[in-house]
């Protein structure tokens, strides 16, 4: 059975106050997760300064809200507001396809990306992202 790659693999939506930060992270996660995992990197205000752009957050969530779903990761708690506002604009069906992970952005995205590349489902990928909270690196 041939399926487009993005129907078989959970995607990632990365939200940061900084475009450069999130684009760099997307590059890193892309390398470990491989080409099958769709990664959307949203960062910075509309004028390019630090902040969040609600329109782009909404666009990204809408694009990601299809089977098999996507994990949303944020840099700081202050991004939660932007993500929540966007989620409110979605349908129940769209919202059901997205899980916002309470996890560190870099480690959560790497863990989620690699697990997503194995074909794991939304719940499993979300769990991997949240386990990143306890991961030690030293």
């Amino acid at each position: 059975m041939n399926q487009p790659a993005d129907l078989a693999y959970v995607g990632l939506v990365l939200v940061s106050h900084s475009r450069r930060l999130v684009e760099g992270l997307a590059e890193l996660v892309g390398q470990v997760a491989g080409p099958d995992v769709t990664i959307q990197a949203i960062g910075g205000a509309a004028d390019g300064s630090l902040g969040t752009d609600p329109d782009r957050v909404l666009e990204a969530l809408q694009a990601a809200a299809h089977e098999p779903g996507a994990i949303v990761l944020m840099d700081l708690g202050s991004s939660v507001l932007a993500v929540s506002a966007a989620l409110e604009s979605l349908s129940d069906e769209q919202r059901a396809r997205l899980t916002v992970a309470d996890a560190p952005l870099v480690e959560g995205a790497v863990a989620a990306g690699v697990l997503a590349s194995t074909g794991a489902d939304l719940g499993e990928v979300a769990q991997a992202a949240e386990e990143a909270r306890d991961a030690r690196k030293l």
Binding site: L28, Q31, V32, A33, G34, E107, V110, A111, V114, L115, S117, T118, A120, A128, E131, A132, A135, R136, K137, L138
Partner: protein, 116 residues
């Protein structure tokens, strides 16, 4: 990922130590199996190689633990594996237990030998 039953003739058989124990209530279940394997000299366990290893480990029937540099990692956890900081040429000790443990560590050793 099935392990090959015949290792290449020019490679020494990896040392597989087996600690067979009778598990109470579990007739015939093997105890922990360990296997030492060396990372290729040019391959440090970072980014893509680590991810390849983790993906392979996720397909194995039992969890495998990797020990290196005095640290232990769940082979299915990318963050764990990255934290090993294993450089090229370093020795990794794989361990697993339960049904399929032998095949699992051998299969993962093969993957490790082929990383790069």
């Amino acid at each position: 990922m099935p392990a090959s039953s015949d290792p290449p003739a020019n490679q020494a058989e990896p040392h597989l130590s087996r600690d067979r124990q009778r598990v109470p209530g579990g007739e015939g279940l093997p105890g922990e199996v360990t296997l030492a394997v060396t990372l290729p000299a040019s391959v440090a366990l970072h980014a893509r190689p680590a991810a390849d290893l983790v993906r392979a480990a996720s397909r194995l029937p039992v969890p495998v633990t990797i020990a290196a540099n005095g640290k232990r990692a769940n082979a299915r956890s990318i963050l764990d594996v990255l934290a090993l900081g294993a450089v090229g040429g370093s020795e990794l000790t794989l361990s697993a237990s339960g049904l399929g443990a032998d095949e699992a560590v051998r299969a993962l050793a093969e993957v490790i030998a082929g990383l790069g």
